[in-house]
């Protein structure tokens, strides 16, 4: 197997072996501490442009399911969160060349290679994670063992981060039939499980790319769902503007997830800031500030709404029990709210799935 290395911007080198595609890439290096669910994680569009470190040492144990069929996404009965591997590169301690599962069609390495995504194993991912924790997320290069640092910077493929949402949103409007209630999903790089979560509860989804004019779709929908997505929410000011000018005036219920929380916060007049190394895991504890109930949630975000910046008519809804950061906001006067974590889970715990029930109930009750 080919020798490979992960080079960090500060010059630190982690050597290992390649087990994915033979490409040299650059990206922000982030870590996720989830112990299961690599298929969902790697296809999560929020990772677009990032080199992902998985801290659980054994990956690929249960293989990868058969590829998604090319038909339109009328049904989403698979474990993928999007049509392709979204991460720029993958870093693990060990991948299993001998997976075992009834749903297994290919190894993790084969999958990554077929999607052109490079991957490295035999890296001390714990030491790397400690470094990221202490120094914050850094830029890294996943390159051949022999590539010099200068060449790494010059030649590695990287993603234009201001454009990541455009790269991950759907090409055009997709309609999913699920029931009488119609939900407009503003897709900034949505995970397919958000669609699954709504459709499974008996509502229909109109999935619209964020850059489209939302007005025509607002008319026919009963509620608006703001999706997750990659990158900095402040690169999405056009969408923030659409929220202010079109969605807010419609008065329809809004529920936001992840980037949806940040966009709603910005539209409300608040601010977002970047976390030192983000929340990427399946064990983030959050507390509902009203009921004091706690939930274990799945998270993947590097930016967060600044509680202090929220205007009077908005208030924090959830808080992170570990570091006190914002995990959700809501409007005091309108049926608008959002959460920073992922109630659709996938991967991760399903504790917060009831939020979809609550949202649809709200949409049903405000329907005219």
């Amino acid at each position: 197997m080919q020798a490979m290395k992960l080079l960090l911007a500060d010059g630190t080198v982690y050597e290992g072996r390649s087990f994915g595609a033979h490409r040299e890439v650059a990206g922000e290096v982030v870590f996720n501490t989830g112990m299961s669910g690599y298929v969902e994680t790697l296809t999560d569009p929020s990772y677009k442009g990032q080199i992902l470190v998985l801290t659980y040492p054994l990956q690929g144990n249960y293989g990868v399911p058969a590829p998604r069929k090319r038909e339109p996404l009328a049904e989403l009965r698979d474990k993928y969160e999007s049509g392709k591997v979204q991460v720029q590169g993958l870093v693990v301690l060990r991948h299993s060349p001998n997976p075992s599962h009834y749903d297994n069609a290919r190894t993790l390495g084969q999958w990554l290679a077929s999607e052109g995504v490079p991957a490295i194993e035999c890296v001390d991912t714990r030491a790397l994670t400690r470094k990221l924790r202490e120094h914050g997320t850094v830029e890294g290069f996943l390159v051949d063992q022999k590539t010099s640092p200068v060449d790494a910077r010059a030649k590695s493929e990287h993603v234009e981060m201001a454009q990541v949402c455009a790269m991950t949103t759907v090409p055009d409007v997709i309609r999913y039939e699920g029931g009488a209630l119609k939900i407009l999903l503003v897709d900034t790089g949505a995970k397919d499980s958000i669609v699954r979560s709504v459709v499974a509860r008996g509502a229909s989804v109109i999935r619209v790319p964020f850059h489209k004019d939302l007005r025509p779709y607002l008319k026919e929908c009963d509620g608006v769902l703001l999706s997750n997505g990659p990158g900095d929410p402040k690169d999405m000011m056009a969408t923030v503007e659409q929220l202010r000018s079109a969605v807010f005036p419609s008065g329809k219920p809004i529920f936001g997830v992840c980037m949806g929380n940040q966009l709603l916060g910005l539209a409300a007049g608040g601010n977002t800031v970047k976390l030192k190394y983000g929340h990427r895991s399946q064990n983030q504890p959050v507390q509902d500030l009203l009921t004091r109930r706690c939930y274990v949630t799945s998270q993947n975000h590097g930016y967060v709404v600044d509680d202090e910046s929220l205007p009077k008519e908005w208030e924090p809804w959830f808080v992170n029990v570990n570091d006190g950061s914002n995990e959700g906001i809501r409007c005091r006067t309108k049926p608008w709210a959002s959460v920073q974590f992922h109630p659709e889970a996938a991967p991760g715990p399903e504790d917060a799935a009831f939020l979809f029930d609550d949202f649809l109930r709200l949409v049903g009750s405000t329907r005219v």
């Binding site: 669910g37 801290t55 054994l58 474990k79 301690l93 507390q287 889970a345 715990p349 399903e350």
Partner: protein, 1076 residues
């Protein structure tokens, strides 16, 4: 601050312990009870503990405010509730014993009567989980699936049930013990074939259960607070498929073969179920998961701390028992901090960045007649936990840790007549059979088809076998750095690599160092490095490229733990380790513990300054020695595991604290020790060793004839030691069971009959004894000291005998320049004293003598080893009470095993109880190990004629108590001839009615005294059936004449109501009232 979700703060809380260690209920409950007491005491509550297990940490003076060494039994608990004015109780920290006791007390209305609140999970919820019918109904209410089963009363009903449930099914005879008579039916023809036999045997009921054979077995540990916050701390996957008890299975954490969908499906059901049942605190939920779909069944819920929760605690660093106790007091999870990071909350689910592998340890070789296949009943006596970055690294470590003489996955270690059969019908050696099969070229798929072990695990084992072969191919050549690193990362030990490469482990170690291949220290931090951790809970791995923590510059000691619990070495050594740690910390030393047993308190990360959860081997200690540079290493607290590597460490330059390893060697080496005794003019039983089989018989004669004690150094099968009573027996044993050769000599010792056995436990300082205590055995010599009933202070020893024992101990301590703990065992007969054993380390009885005398022997020993001098007041004999240590046996768990006592230890645990005299202490101790006062009849079967005559007076006493006597024919005749009224009970071979076993079945007998003849063990005659039936029907059984007579005397003097209810502290306080 106090938990806000509890209506009223309790004042005096009673904690129920789990009693003596037994199969299925072992050291894990010392850990959970100790944590619970800590958590309660932090709240300023007055804590009272009932636990007769005197070797536990939880019964130490620094924990509960009051300790009762009484049986955990509704009768005694009620008395203590009244006596201590208890207003709250916890029943979930003492295993099934405490839970059952709590349920019984609740049913009897005791809690209501005295206004005692049950903290944590309500008893109603416990009942829902314990009663199968209610459990299924509760699960049905929320649409959660449980295994389908129907009870049928006729053949037609069975057919109909099979139709509803669907093939394959298990047909099981209801009310049969231990899964006997069950049959798996794959086809309708199988069912038809089984039916006539099932009902023909007169069974009233047949259970039809769906067969889930080959399904995955998965567990989740769930925590819920009274505010309904709920988390799953850990999930675990059994490497062995369903059908093998989880206590018998190799278990990994977290699950390795579950994808997100399966993981979350089971997690969500776990939370839903636990909320529905209303559990507050900690519980465990077990699942069967179809390997080919999302179909699942809930197998059971344990509404209490369990063996699995202890494992999960150690595997994740999440202190489950501590948190459960806080939640029982009304705290919510987010109120509590994460104990490891101290900056995040206890409301979270640990993320692991390593793999944990648990492997059970069996001791089946110690038993005659026991079934070696593993299955739905638990037979293992201990377990180990290994931590690694990969499954192979962890598994190989764990296989070495169980200490059965293997160096990891070794295809050649054991011989299998039929590997395929071994895979299909697994025994404790199945992993080695897997290795063997894969080594011989069997494919992973075929191995899976036979064993039902998931292909993921099999592939990892196959890789390991291949790498082992790659090393073998390098035999004679120097290993290159790449292969060496791969081998270390795959979990091979230096020794294992050396053996395969035909070299020595010293050479492998040198080679490693030359190539810079060293293990690194990794931290267990519950959050996979997302947040910094404040505690030093560590393990070693070759997959890391840097250490997580650097060694401190403080003066420190490394304490070696006891390793896996096994017969002969269990919780008592953990007590010693923990007390050594505490003593060293008290003196300002930084303490490091090396141990790998998840059932212990010493592996709680807050006991020491740092905990290295890894193998106790020469290889590892050297790595730690060079990394940490401690002041010294303590090897004398962990029993034989630690002791065994002392001399090698010493020779490699490691500073061993206390007695010199050269002295340890002089005491361990039979020849050297014997020569020393001769030099000191100390008597010992006559012995000789030989490498020639032909000489054995002549030697036996020269020692003065039979019986002789035979100790081969290499055993093929069965127990290592035996007593040969005649020439034929000796010959048979040596040819069948052992391999005698010049490399494997056999030691033959004169077996002294009718001798008393006496022990001294002592602490010496540079050869001078500073603390000592002498205990006598109730049983005569011939019963292993671990199975014997100990009395302290001795009640029936001559003053002269005691004087001689003290002199011998003094001479030996001086000659070996002992500093630290030691134990000697003696035979005493008419004031003649012979030394039979000397251990220059802490012994099994140290916690007992420490707690009975009130002198902490281990604390003193540790201080002496660390150079602290000063006078100590010894109170070895001047005690105003008597304490008895009695053994706990687990024969009922070991189907087929012959419940007799011999020179090999068979007990799995012990208790220690106090009384005003021997009778009272003995009765309490026996009741605590399962004895019940006889009310109906006693079955006597007294073996040799001399024994029968010796018991005549006792038989009369039993009659005088109004008990019916039943006797087997020989005994019957003797009793009748001596005018003692009794009824006949025929043996099996008599083939007459009334048969002894039938009388037992008819509940006419509630005590069996069966004294086996000398060589019953091999012949398995009538006595075996009587003993076995007694065990299977839970009738108290006594097989030793001295003990039988002591018991008769005791029950003649005391009824259960006469037994005093004093607590430990009150007994100890009596000392001050004595003449000084």
């Amino acid at each position: 601050m106090f938990g806000q979700y509890l209506p009223k703060k309790p004042r005096r809380v009673l904690i129920l312990g789990s009693g003596a260690l037994k199969i299925g209920e072992a050291g894990e409950f010392d850990y959970s009870g100790s944590q619970a007491i800590k958590a309660l005491k932090e709240e300023g509550l007055y804590t009272v503990l009932i636990n007769p297990n005197i070797a536990t940490i939880q019964t130490s003076d620094q924990l509960a405010d009051k300790v009762y060494f009484h049986p955990v039994d509704p009768y005694f608990v009620e008395k203590i509730i009244v006596r201590e004015d208890i207003d709250a109780i916890t029943v979930s920290f003492g295993g099934q014993t405490a839970l059952n006791c709590g349920v019984a007390l609740d049913a009897a209305g005791v809690f209501e009567k005295y206004g005692v609140r049950v903290l944590g999970t309500p008893i109603e919820a416990v009942r829902d989980t314990e009663d199968r019918r209610r459990f299924v109904q509760r699960l049905n209410e929320i649409g959660v699936k449980s295994a389908r089963a129907e009870a049928c009363h006729s053949e037609d009903e069975v057919r109909a049930a099979v139709g509803r449930i669907g093939l394959p099914v298990i047909l099981r005879a209801a009310y049969a013990l231990g899964g006997k008579g069950s049959r798996i039916c794959e086809t309708q023809a199988d069912v038809e074939d089984a039916l006539p036999k099932l009902f023909a045997s007169g069974l009233p009921q047949v259970l039809v259960e769906e067969s889930l054979r080959g399904w995955k077995e998965i567990e989740y540990e769930v925590v819920r607070d009274a505010r309904d916050n709920c988390i799953t701390v850990c999930n675990m996957e059994n490497v062995d498929p369903l059908g093998i008890h989880t206590g018998e299975s190799i278990v990994v954490a977290p699950s390795q073969t579950l994808n997100n969908e399966e993981y979350q499906l089971l997690r969500t059901i776990a939370i839903k179920t636990i909320r529905h049942l209303g559990i507050v605190g900690e519980c465990n939920i077990q699942y069967a998961l179809d390997p080919n779909s999302l179909d699942y069944r809930v197998i059971e819920v344990n509404a209490r701390l369990s063996r699995s929760s202890a494992l999960a605690s150690k595997a994740t660093g999440y202190p489950l028992a501590y948190v459960a106790a806080k939640l029982a007091l009304g705290y919510t999870l987010p109120d509590l901090p994460n104990a490891i990071t101290r900056r995040t909350s206890a409301f979270f689910e640990p993320a692991l960045d390593y793999v944990v592998c648990k492997v059970p340890r069996w001791d089946l070789e110690k038993f005659v007649g026991v079934e070696h296949k593993i299955g739905s009943e638990m037979k293992s006596v201990g377990e180990v936990m290994a931590i690694g970055k990969t499954f192979a690294e962890a598994l190989q470590k764990a296989l070495r840790m169980i200490d059965i003489g293997v160096d990891g996955i070794d295809p050649h270690k054991f011989k299998f007549d039929d590997v395929r059969k071994e895979l299909k019908e697994p025994s404790q050696r199945r992993m080695f059979a897997v290795a063997r099969a894969l080594h011989e070229g069997m494919t992973v798929d075929e191995a899976h088809a036979l064993s039902r072990i998931d292909e993921f695990f099999l592939s990892e084992i196959a890789d390991t076998v291949r790498l082992g072969r790659e090393i073998e191919e390098k035999k004679g050549k120097e290993l290159d750095a790449d292969l060496l690193l791969r081998a270390k990362r795959q979990g091979f030990s230096d020794k294992g690599i050396a053996r395969r490469a035909g070299t020595s482990d010293d050479i492998v170690r040198d080679l490693r160092r030359r190539h810079g291949i060293r293990p690194h220290v990794a931290q267990i931090d519950t959050l996979a490095a997302e947040y910094p951790a404040e505690t030093n809970y560590l393990y070693l791995t070759y997959h890391a490229q840097a250490d997580d923590v650097s060694p401190s510059w403080r003066k420190k000691v490394l304490v070696l733990g006891s390793g896996a619990y096994r017969i002969g070495s269990s919780v008592e050594f953990d007590w010693c380790c923990v007390n050594a740690i505490l003593a060293a910390r008290e003196l300002g030393f930084e303490t490091i513990v090396l141990n790998y047993n998840p059932e212990t308190v010493s592996t709680d990360y807050d006991v020491s300054d740092s905990l290295v959860f890894d193998e106790i081997t020469f290889e590892n200690v050297m790595e730690l020695w060079e990394r940490e540079r401690p002041y010294g290493v303590i090897v004398s607290m962990g029993g034989q595991v630690a002791n065994n590597i002392a001399i090698r460490l010493h020779r490699a330059g490691v500073k061993i604290l206390g007695t010199s390893p050269e002295s340890i060697d002089a005491a361990e080496d039979r020849e050297k020790f014997s020569a020393l005794l001769d030099k000191l003019e100390i008597d010992q039983p006559k012995w000789t060793s030989t490498g020639k089989l032909e000489d054995a018989e002549a030697i036996a004669e020269s020692l003065g004839g039979y019986p002789v004690l035979v100790r081969p150094s290499y055993v093929l099968s069965g127990a290592a030691m035996t007593v040969a009573h005649e020439r034929e027996h000796l010959r048979n044993y040596l040819t069948r069971a052992a391999d005698v050769s010049p490399e494997h000599p056999v030691v033959i010792t004169k077996f002294e009959q009718n001798s008393k056995e006496v022990e001294i436990d002592a602490v010496a300082d540079e050869g001078e004894i500073v603390l000592w205590s002498i205990s006598e055995h109730v049983e005569n010599a011939g019963v292993h000291s671990g199975d014997a009933t100990l009395v302290l202070p001795p009640q029936k020893l001559y003053i002269e005998t005691i004087r001689r024992i003290k002199k011998i101990a003094r001479d030996v301590a001086a000659a070996l320049k002992i500093t630290g703990p030691f134990n000697m065992q003696f035979l005493a007969k008419h004031n003649e004293v012979k030394v039979i054993e000397c251990n220059l380390r802490a012994s099994r009885s140290f916690p007992f003598v420490s707690k009975v005398t009130g002198n902490n022997f281990i604390r003193e020993a540790t201080r002496r080893m660390l150079g602290v001098k000063g006078p100590v007041q010894n109170r070895a004999l001047d005690l105003d009470y008597v304490a008895v240590k009695a053994a706990q046996f687990s024969f009922s768990r070991l189907a087929g095993a012959d419940p007799t006592l011999g020179v090999e230890m068979a007990s799995t645990g012990e208790v220690g109880c106090f009384g005003n005299d021997l009778n009272e202490a003995l009765l309490k101790a026996l009741v605590a190990t399962g004895f019940k006062f006889p009310k109906k009849g006693v079955l006597l079967s007294l073996g040799p004629a001399a024994e029968k005559l010796r018991f005549l007076d006792d038989a009369k006493m039993l009659r005088a108590m109004g008990l019916a006597l039943y006797a087997t024919p020989g005994t019957y005749d003797v009793l009748r001839e001596n005018g003692i009224d009794c009824e006949i009970a025929y043996k099996k071979s008599d083939n007459k009615s009334p048969a002894a076993v039938d009388l037992m079945n008819e509940d006419k007998i509630d005590l069996v005294i069966n004294i086996p003849r000398s060589y019953d063990r091999d012949g398995r005659p009538d006595g075996y059936y009587i003993r076995r039936r007694a065990v299977d029907r839970n009738i108290p059984l006594i097989t030793n004449m001295q003990l039988a007579r002591a018991v008769v005397e005791a029950i003649e003097k005391y009824s259960i109501d006469d037994l005093e209810m004093d607590d430990w502290q009150s007994y100890l306080a009596r000392r001050s009232q004595m003449l000084v």
